[in-house]
Point group: C2
Chain length 228, copies 2
Amino acid sequence: MPQRPRRSQDERSDETRTALHRATIRLLLDRGYSRFTTADAAAAAGVSRGALTHHFASKEDLVVRSVAQDLAGVTEGLRVFLAEGRGRRRGPDELVDHLWALMAGGLFYVTMEYLPEARHNAPFRERLLPVVRDFHAALDALWCSVSDAHDLDPAEAQVTLNATLCLMRGMVAQSVLKPDESYFAAMLDHWKAHLRALFARSAGAGDIPGPSHAGRHHSPPVPNPEVP
Amino acid sequence: MPQRPRRSQDERSDETRTALHRATIRLLLDRGYSRFTTADAAAAAGVSRGALTHHFASKEDLVVRSVAQDLAGVTEGLRVFLAEGRGRRRGPDELVDHLWALMAGGLFYVTMEYLPEARHNAPFRERLLPVVRDFHAALDALWCSVSDAHDLDPAEAQVTLNATLCLMRGMVAQSVLKPDESYFAAMLDHWKAHLRALFARSAGAGDIPGPSHAGRHHSPPVPNPEVP
């Protein structure tokens, strides 16, 4: 068998950091911020404590840089999703389903873990601010591409799509203590109708993809507080 | 001077519990769940550790019962707000401003503190579930009174008003790392227009109170992460 090429020091460092980023996001999701330690992250990533402390100065440092990596991946995934729309347009239903799968599939559970810490730990919050600012700037660019593709009023589209994510943040938060799939499905249906009306005002209504025929069988993933 | 009447044991116990409930909500808001101890609550309430442990079995017990008391007060405040509407109707703008002042004024910051704990601590979550279920049932009754007063379709009103609170939950969560007053004001304006359209479909549009003349000068309180 051919020998695996020897990795450079930089490559090994990249792999170590990536493994630690992934383990950190996973542990935030599974155990939460307050129950999470750098020792757990090293063990879950299969690296030594020394390797961790070589790359990351503290728990906060590890979390901030892991969140930055995670959000960069989410941004890239959204860009690809929109670019891959059949023809040039994604309908509002597809957009809502995709964003909800992302938010309820873990993204906002992770966010909920570090927000309380950010509220009470000013240096941590200061380091997170530019990370989320970069993410919001990327979202703004994506929303511009949606409004361009659908000839929507850019300002109205921006506000509506930001509200879409805020609605979903609130739904995911509520789902922790209200595990009620039909409750959230009804809100998503309401919101899709709202977006369809917005999109229809700018285009021939016949152009806007409506609800899929599968309907409720394609109901969105509702997070399970036990196994988010 | 007349002597203050001697309080009964029951009255003193009620006062002790109420002082501890209030101190707990205040400390959750100011310091957060993970930094909060029962010793802090006793000190802030001005009661002895023994008095606290006489009434509350644990930190979780204190938090659950404080949240239950707090939500009962919020429910009663909402009931009074709706009952006090001039004539029989509150317009959507008033409703949105009132709910946002409530959520961004502290209610949802407190919620964000205990949600991550509820996600990872099953006995704590089990005790919170009926508390929030009672709160949601009270909200449902309030939403029914709104749909009755405005002759709205009850099912559509219910979903829309639940979405109003989810949107606000998400906005408050986002405000922790995006302190941008105009961003949230634009979303609230968007949402008010959405509710006005819903209300207008069921009534003469002229009946629906529009934006106040003060406009942006009455912009909603945007929470300050430093002093929520």
